[in-house]
């Protein structure tokens, strides 16, 4: 196998000597055609938006799969860890307060990444992942009871379905407006403005919602497997 890889590598164009035409073509037309400054976002959410829809549903299906695998099964006795001698875990109060302070910063940063998808590096997937970590930070810095209250399961489920459905609905709305599925039918706005690039911007909202909800869902499911903490903050 190493030999095959070696053979394949020697057939590749040298590093830094990119020969492709498609990348150059899209780099030169995307800014004018779609009024974006981040071409990667234009590729993902416009030129190959249907693929990204499928990708979003991979994430959706995986979150559902984890939910199914980790659900409490009927008649199954609640799993208990083998008995360990009780070792109290000590945690630093300073770390906890710094973490608490960062929750707001992370939420603002995640929203910033989502809404500037078509202008600067970032987008719905990246921003959603950042927003998802805010929920796990709540778990790490407070008690499980508070964590469950700020990310209730019904809210996460509703957000996940709204995000996944919103993407498809934008595509269907384009059909109703007389275009093709997921065609960019909205006015494109001025290049460099926040509300520019038509449907790319809206799709990023729904993807951001879906990804942050899916990540929160995964954390909720995995946290459920952890036995109730008896840690005391000192």
């Amino acid at each position: 196998m190493a030999g095959l890889l070696l053979w394949a590598i020697t057939g590749l164009p040298g590093f830094g000597k990119y020969p492709g035409q498609y990348g150059d073509l899209i780099n030169s037309v995307a800014v004018f055609e779609r009024h974006v400054t981040n071409v990667v976002t234009a590729v993902n959410f416009d030129y190959r938006a249907l693929d990204t829809l499928g990708e979003e549903y991979i994430l959706f299906a995986a979150a559902i799969g984890v939910m199914l695998l980790l659900r409490e099964q009927r008649g199954e006795p609640h799993y208990r860890l083998p008995e360990h001698p009780h070792i109290p875990i000590r945690r630093s109060e300073a770390g906890r307060w710094i973490g608490l302070g960062f929750i707001g910063v992370i939420i603002v940063f995640g929203i910033y990444i989502v809404i500037h998808a078509q202008l600067t590096p970032g987008g719905g997937f990246q921003g959603g992942a950042i927003l998802g970590t805010a929920s796990v930070l709540v778990y790490l810095t407070t008690e499980e009871r508070i964590y469950r209250r700020v990310t209730p399961k019904w809210l996460v489920e509703v957000a996940e379905c709204a995000g996944a459905g919103g993407y498809a609905l934008i595509g269907i709305a384009a059909l109703l407006a007389g275009g093709a599925f997921l065609q960019n039918v909205l006015p494109l706005g001025k290049t460099g403005d926040l509300a520019s690039s038509g449907t790319i911007w809206l799709i990023n909202f729904s993807v951001g919602l879906e990804v942050s909800a899916a990540f929160s869902m995964l954390y909720l499911e995995f946290v459920q497997e952890v036995p109730e903490r008896t840690t005391k903050f000192e």
Partner: protein, 114 residues
């Protein structure tokens, strides 16, 4: 020198596969799979790179200045999302395996009898 990034991708693939084959713990095996996946990121990104070019973001530079391929970058984004979900799903499976069989060693898992 100009082929070094491709060799790094191949090395990541091989070392990850070696880890999977010799793994004694399912969690370790899943992390090795993540290493294998990361070799594809390195391969795709280095295939789209061009010497002296910058990121395909045209906020401050006029379109038409040299930039790296945005298509492979979009593909890597897809790749990372799929990798993360596969990892989450496999970890959930590992939790279930441990609950039911009490071990995470693949060699000690016998075929299901019941």
């Amino acid at each position: 020198m100009s082929l070094l990034p491709y060799f790094i991708a191949a090395w990541l693939l091989l070392i990850g596969l070696y880890g999977i084959v010799t793994s004694k713990n399912l969690i370790h095996l899943i992390v090795c799979l993540a290493v294998v996946q990361s070799s594809t990121y390195v391969l795709l990104l280095s295939a789209g790179y061009r010497t002296g070019a910058s990121a395909p973001i045209f906020a401050e530079r006029p379109p038409g200045t040299p930039a790296v391929d945005p298509i492979v970058q979009a593909l890597v984004l897809t790749d990372i999302v799929v990798g993360a979900t596969v990892t989450a799903l496999l970890l959930a499976l590992a939790v279930q395996v441990f609950k039911r069989r009490g071990t995470l060693d693949p060699a000690r898992l016998r075929p299901l009898r019941d």
